[in-house]
Symmetry: C2
Subunit: 205 residues, 2 copies
């Protein structure tokens, strides 16, 4: 471990986590990406994931489309369904966190209440909120999956930004603007912000 | 990787899993422990977990008591609640499996239908069913948590073995009998069975 200092351990769970973090030579955190559909959350998340892996970090990526195909396939898109979707996403993120893994979780997570729920489950010390900012108009104009069009036509109900709210985060840990900057620039900005927080021992990276 | 041969990769997910398995120098599997309450499932699971970790395997342990405190705290003990409990447990086990991790999942999982559900989600190639066999009478006489007594008095409904069924596995991958043998003997028996299945490269272990 070289010159790394490890804080005293409070209980067995933390003990296990510290051991696993030491195995990976990293501090585990949950990087929580919030933003509108088509804001670029998952694109940024995938690129960040790739970059961190190339640097030797051990990571796990989750997004809404993935979880709704398996664990959360029983849930709808009502506010209650979204809340349960996020509750489970946060619980799983926490399990990977406790396994010493750096987690990147990309979910619209549209309301302050929902994001606070995730933060409460994960723990504020381990939760890094990333607001992926892009105007509603830009997101709709991208509409890669054709879902804004379906929502406009009423085929999708409770669509964030159309007939369901998106509350802009007031104090995200970092905000990145996908309207003004390239993916490459933003991934660099985000990784520069994240890397010091997940590095266990600077000398070893 | 030495002399290890890696089969051709079918898609990105498998590619990622193979890379992660190579990182850990192990093959990920889900070791699924089924048996009555107080049969010794979780005791064996914890000891197996400890032994595998000491040998250098990277593992993750789950049990019903743990999951019902967080992800599954919304579920009851009806057959429907148990099925959903196991469905989610299997989905989470699979996520850790895909992260290259050896998972030990200890759940009563009382019916054939429920265990088949878990196996279907995880995939039969990656699912190792361990039947932790101990007679109902012995389990009740152990009753470490005092729950058999509560169930007898009617304070707990749908208790496996009292007013809810336990269907004995017909073809488990391995059966261990906690009535006749010591924990130490059984953990050795089980680990001798498991280790060849999770070793990526025998020469390196």
């Amino acid at each position: 471990m070289g010159n790394c200092s490890i804080k005293s351990l409070r209980n067995d769970d933390i003990n296990k986590r510290k051991k696993k973090e030491a195995f990976f030579n990293q501090k585990s955190k949950v990087i929580w990406m919030t933003g509108l559909s088509s804001s670029g959350k998952t694109t940024i998340a995938k690129n960040l994931d790739k970059k961190l892996q190339e640097m030797g970090f051990f990571t796990q990526l989750f997004d809404g489309d993935f979880l709704r195909k398996n664990l959360n396939k029983d849930l709808d898109y009502s506010l209650e369904g979204r809340e349960e979707n996020i509750r489970r996403a946060a619980e799983i993120s926490k399990m990977f966190l406790n396994a010493g893994i750096v987690v990147i979780s990309s979910f619209i997570s549209p309301t302050k209440k929902i994001r606070q729920l995730a933060k409460d489950i994960i723990g504020s010390d381990d939760f890094i909120e990333v607001y992926v900012n892009s105007s509603f108009e830009t997101c709709e104009s991208r509409d890669k999956k054709g879902i804004y069009e379906k929502a406009r036509k009423g085929f999708i109900k409770n669509f964030t930004g159309i007939d369901s709210p998106y509350e802009v985060p007031e104090n995200p840990d970092i905000e990145i603007n996908t309207e003004e900057y390239s993916i490459e620039t933003l991934v660099k900005e985000l990784s520069d912000f994240i890397i010091p927080k997940i590095s266990l021992c600077k000398a070893n990276k």
